[in-house]
Amino acid sequence: MSTKPSQEEGRTLRFEIFRYDPTRPEVEPHLDAFELVEQPYMTLYLALNRIREEHDPSLQFDFACRSAVCGSCGMMINGRPGLACSTLTANLPDVIRLHPLPAFELVGDLSVDTGKWFREMAERTESWIHERAPFDPEAIEERMDDDLAQAIYEGERCIECGCCVAGCGVANVNPRFVGPAGLNRIARFALDPRDARSDTDWFEVLASDDGVFGCLGLMACDDVCPKDLPLREQYAYLRRRTMGAARAPLLQVEGVANAQG
C-alpha cells in the first residue's frame, strides 16, 4: 500500500468501529462495521460524519475544529493514537479499525472525556503563572529572551488531544502518573521566569513514580504526538532540574516547613 495519498474515487473502505455506551451496560462492547466509498481528500473526520449521517445517527465521536487545533478527535486509528481530522483515508488500508483512546474515561463509542483528565492534571500541576506580587496592570512588562519565549511556546503548543497519554505504557497502567502532557505542562511553567515557583516547589510533584521518574523513556508519546512537541527534551530538562532540587539541603527545606508551623 502506498503512503502517498491517491485521490482516485472508488475504493470501498470498511470501517470497524468500537461501540459501547456506558449508560447501556446491557449491550456488550463490540465492533460495528460500516462501508463507505472513498472520496478525494477524505479524512477520518469526514468519513465518520458520513457514517453518522448515512448509516447510524447514534454513533458518538468528538470533533470541533477540523484542522488539528482543538484536540477533540483523538482516537486509536488501527491501533495507533492520532487525530481523525488530520488523518487521510488515502493513507490507510481498506480496513480501518477505530477505538476510543485508552487511559481516559469513556463517554461512549469513540468519545472520551479528555477534558476531565486535563482539568485534573492542570489542577495538580497548578498550571498557571504563580506570581509573587499581585498583578500590576500599570507596570511595564519584563523583557524576555527570544529563545526562551520560543521554548515556552513549544510547550504551550499542546492541544490536549490526549494521544501521548493513550500511547504511554505507564499512563495506561498507572492512572496517577502525571503523563506526557502533564510533564510537558510542568516543563513549560518551570521554564517561565514569570513563574515564582522554585525547583523545590516543584520537587514533590515531580520526584516520584507518578511524576518524571515514572517515565520509562519508551518515547511512544514523542512518536505519536500530532503536534510534534519536543517531549524528549522536556523530560530530560525536568529530570536534570529535579536532581538539582534534590541536592538542596533538606534542613533548609525543613526550615521553611517548620517556619510554617
Partner: protein, 274 residues
C-alpha cells in the same frame, strides 16, 4: 492553604504546590513528609541510573580484561595475577557484587507488579508499531513499537542477568578468594578455560547476550532520559547503541570460543617473547 490552618503560607501572595496531599496508601501526607518521600525517590532514581551506567562501563573494561585470553593463557595469567597482586581484583569483585544487587533492587521498581499491567504494556507496544497503512491485526505481532519492546526485553534480559550473573559472581568470588579452582588462590587461564570447555560455555553465551543487550539498551535509555546527546536524533542514538551492542557481542563471542578452547588464541604471538 485555607483549609489547613496549621500550615499557613510562609510567603504571602505566592501560591505553592499542594501543601497537604492525600495519599491512598498512607493517608494524609504533610509537606515535610512529601519532601522526604520525593527526595528518597530522587536518590533511588539517581542510584538506579548511576549503578546501571557504572555496571555497563565496568562490563566494557571486563570484556577487555577477559579478552587477554586472545593472547593466550600467558597473557591472561599475567593480567589476572597482576590485578590480584596489586589488590585491584578482590575489591572490584566485592564492589561489583554490591552494585549488581543494588541495581537489581532499584531498577526493578519500574517493572509493573501485575501481570495484567505488563500484558497491557506489551499489547500497546504491538498496537502502536503497526504502520497506519497496514491492515489491522495482520502485522501487529511482527513489528512492535521498537522502544517499547526494547524496554520489555530489557526487563527480560535483566532477569536472566540476575540469575546467571549472580552465579558467575559467586563462581569468580570462590575462584578469587579460595584455592578451590586451579593450583593457587586466584583466577587462572587453565582452570577458567576448563570450566568453560566442560559445559559453562552455554550459560556464558546466554549471559553474554543478555548482558550486552541489557547494558547497551540501558545506556541508550539513560541518554534519552537525561538528555545526553540531545542534539542527536533518537534514530542516531539507536544506531550508536547498535554499534556498541554488536561490537561487544562479536568481541565477547570470539573471547568465549577461545576460552572454550575451540579456537586457538589469535594474538598468541604477542606473548611469545615473554
Amino acid at each position: 492553604m485555607a483549609e489547613n490552618p496549621t500550615l499557613p503560607d510562609p510567603r504571602p501572595g505566592l501560591i505553592r504546590p499542594t501543601r497537604v496531599r492525600r495519599d491512598s496508601r498512607r493517608g494524609v501526607l504533610t509537606f515535610e513528609a512529601q519532601r522526604r518521600a520525593a527526595r528518597r525517590q530522587a536518590i533511588y532514581e539517581a542510584v538506579s541510573g548511576a549503578s546501571g551506567a557504572a555496571l555497563a562501563f565496568f562490563m566494557w573494561g571486563h570484556m577487555l580484561l577477559v579478552g587477554s585470553i586472545l593472547t593466550g593463557s600467558r597473557g591472561f595469567d599475567w593480567v589476572a595475577s597482576g590485578l590480584e597482586h596489586i589488590y585491584v581484583a578482590q575489591p572490584t569483585v566485592v564492589i561489583i557484587s554490591v552494585l549488581f544487587f543494588v541495581h537489581a533492587a532499584l531498577a526493578s521498581r519500574k517493572i509493573p507488579s501485575q501481570l495484567r499491567e505488563r500484558r497491557r504494556m506489551r499489547d500497546l507496544a504491538r498496537s502502536l508499531a503497526r504502520p497506519l497503512d497496514a491492515p489491522p491485526g495482520a502485522a501487529s505481532r511482527a513489528t512492535p513499537h521498537l522502544e517499547s519492546s526494547l524496554w520489555i526485553w530489557q526487563v527480560r534480559t535483566g532477569m536472566v542477568v540476575l540469575v546467571f550473573g549472580a552465579a558467575h559472581l559467586l563462581l569468580i568470588g570462590i575462584d578469587l578468594f579460595t584455592p578451590m579452582f586451579g593450583e593457587r588462590v586466584g583466577i587462572e587461564a587453565a582452570s577458567s578455560s576448563e570450566r568453560v570447555a566442560e559445559g559453562l560455555v552455554i550459560p556464558y553465551a546466554i549471559l553474554l547476550l543478555a548482558v550486552e543487550f541489557h547494558a547497551s539498551v540501558g545506556l541508550y535509555r539513560l541518554a534519552v532520559k537525561w538528555g545526553v546527546g540531545s542534539r542527536l536524533s533518537r534514530r542516531t542514538l539507536l544506531a550508536i547503541e547498535r554499534v556498541i551492542l554488536f561490537g561487544f557481542l562479536g568481541f565477547g563471542a570470539i573471547t568465549l570460543v577461545v576460552l572454550a578452547g575451540w579456537v586457538d588464541p589469535p594474538l598468541a604471538f604477542l606473548t611469545e617473547g615473554l
